[in-house]
Symmetry: C2
Subunit: 386 residues, 2 copies
């Protein structure tokens, strides 16, 4: 096991009816900005629950934060925060809204002239403006971690930020919100959480037996939950388990003491930037090719995964590893998620060169657990995904 | 899944060499009291590591906190804390030292006349004196939770306390400390952690699939680790996994959203009070009898446990449940832990009546997941353990 530090102060309020407790979590004297996305919360009743709980608070609203939270739109919210002397941010939404609010939490207290520098220069956020979240779309785990990913359409960039100042003060997870999520987003949520686990698990062994088993538990639970969820997202037990799996997949716990990879995410982000493909689907496109390409490095862990998650016990280590990759791709297909770039765009020719070149320009000389994912390897992986 | 709140702010520093970071975790201006147990830390080098890291601090020492931390001895430490205007407590030891320091953290700021009232009246500690821990004996998980159990020999009592003020500011877990732990304490640590998991898992199902799988992961990992640990506790990977399993077994995570039981602990505490039997061993005595007695309530979960932890797939649910209890008892035996009261004392006659009556006097009218563990049931369970 590698040395590690773990501290996650986020307060989770989990369960039906917990949204009403907002007024026990936000300081009474706070000047609140309520932020949300495209307005689905006004259709599914969450907006009403939130505003009821905010009765008595001095609050304003900012809606319209899009998927892949867009820097230029967030700057409009930042203006309001500064002009109105906002002191507390409340994100009501999925990963995009919460990630956007994390950027605002940091930018609100940032003393430089250009907030994009926080992302471009990798400035760590030690203290941000306090914020809480009401999660409406389980997937990214951002409700219980201190990371964020922000997009900037004008330059085609997608950048990450983080730091201990970006943990939410609280996150409210009410599984009844899952009932109104469209099938496509449910499938994305499962694929996203599943790939998060793989990025932290499918690496060389350091004997961290418990972390391996926890990761396998989340994957097993997502596999067991997925068909039930797709069939009836209004089933509370199913929705609750889906929601908790997504949070545990990326709240930091399973990555402690082990090497992580994350190359699939870095490559996938470029596919979103180029073609607007849903984040989770880019992961499903890249993951099988990534694991095939690095079979030599990863075959032992892939075989362990095959055995403990997919009950693959026959064949050599390499055969079991390959069978495990096939099972993974079939799992994405079972969610109606295609796993070839050509399923999403006709313009795929040349993508491998573009992605590879873009990563090179960004200074990503080598990704992955062994820093072996060079621009050349990226090219091969993306080419294999056509 | 049941509704739950989760917040665990403890900072964990895990790994070889982390003790040297003490001086980055304790405020420089703090007036520190270093507390420890019987002095084994002076033999195994931990004392030297700690005092080296405390160079430059204004600190004093209080040694001699015994197993099952004794109230009267802790009062002596409390006097020092008050007379010397101590502002920060540092516990270096196992569960007993840390639990003792938690009591002191609470008592130091308690405004009543009689500190025992905190325990006797179940007063929740909202704010305590800040403290950190250096764990030297993995077992109880107290290094990452906000609970404590204190004994009072003069009255034969053993009482629990807790509250958000009792989370350590930090806990340092260096697996190299495991090498010098005697076999008996290693066995106790495994049995203790294992039973902690069972108390939070062997209850009626609420569909909390991920929590079940996490609990099973810890048990599977402890089972895989135990023989290696008993053979060579100086193996770093083995020691690290043992240590992390013990912490995760009782840091609050796996109990969130599920019913818990804890009757085994309440009954076991009385056996420690009566005969001085090691805490972990009282659990090994009571657990098999408790599960047999409540087979009807628990057989589904016992069968699931049998299948996922012990690979028991043959027979009816009841048969599999019984086989799982047998496997559990055999696991304790594999650690050289006897599981009959008569293995520990010749004076066992009448114990069932005594324990049952004592619990009745303490107002424990009913324990366990269904509040079905009446004094009568306790009597039967303890009698069955002779």
């Amino acid at each position: 096991m590698l040395n590690f530090e773990l501290q996650n102060p986020v307060k989770i309020l989990f369960g039906k009816g917990e949204i009403a407790k907002l007024n026990t979590q936000i300081p009474k004297e706070a000047k609140v900005l309520l932020l949300y996305g495209g307005g689905s919360i006004k259709k599914n009743g969450i907006y009403n629950q939130v505003t009821s709980a905010l009765q008595g608070y001095d609050y304003q609203e900012f809606g319209g934060i899009p998927a892949n939270p867009e820097y230029d739109i967030l700057l409009d919210a930042l203006t309001i925060i500064k002009e109105q002397n906002i002191t507390f941010l409340l994100a009501v939404g999925g990963g995009s809204v919460i990630d956007g609010v994390k950027f605002l939490s940091s930018a609100a207290l940032y003393e430089g002239n250009e907030p994009w520098d926080i992302l471009a220069n990798g400035i760590r956020t030690e203290v941000g403006m306090p914020f809480g979240t009401v999660l409406t779309l389980p997937a990214t785990g951002t409700e219980m971690n201190s990371g964020s990913v922000i997009s900037r359409r004008s330059t085609g960039e997608k950048r990450a930020m983080g730091g201990p100042g970006l943990f939410p003060q609280f996150s409210i997870l009410d599984p009844t919100v899952v009932a109104s999520i469209p099938q496509r987003q449910l499938a994305n949520g499962i694929a996203d959480a599943y790939t998060h686990v793989m990025e932290q698990y499918m690496t060389y062994s350091v004997g961290a037996d418990l972390q391996d088993r926890f990761a396998e538990s989340i994957m097993n639970s997502l596999i067991a939950t997925a068909p039930k969820l797709m069939q009836d997202p209004s089933d509370y037990k199913t929705a609750a388990n889906f929601m908790w799996c997504c949070t545990m997949a990326l709240n930091g716990l399973i990555q402690k003491g082990v090497p992580t990879d994350w190359a699939i995410h870095v490559i996938g982000h470029e596919l979103t930037a180029l073609y607007g493909i849903d984040h989770a689907r880019t992961l499903a496109i890249i993951a099988p090719r990534h694991y095939h390409h690095f079979l030599d490095n990863k075959k032992e862990k892939l075989a362990q995964y095959g055995e403990r998650v997919w009950n693959i016990t026959e064949g050599s280590i390499e055969e079991r590893a390959k069978a495990a990759i096939e099972k993974t791709e079939a799992f994405f297909h079972s969610l109606d998620i295609p796993t070839r770039l050509s399923d999403y765009t006709d313009q795929y020719e040349g993508t491998a060169e573009k992605v590879s070149e873009t990563l090179r320009e960004r200074g990503w000389v080598a990704l992955g657990e062994h820093k072996a994912v060079t621009p050349e390897a990226v090219k091969t992986i993306v080419e294999g995904s056509y």
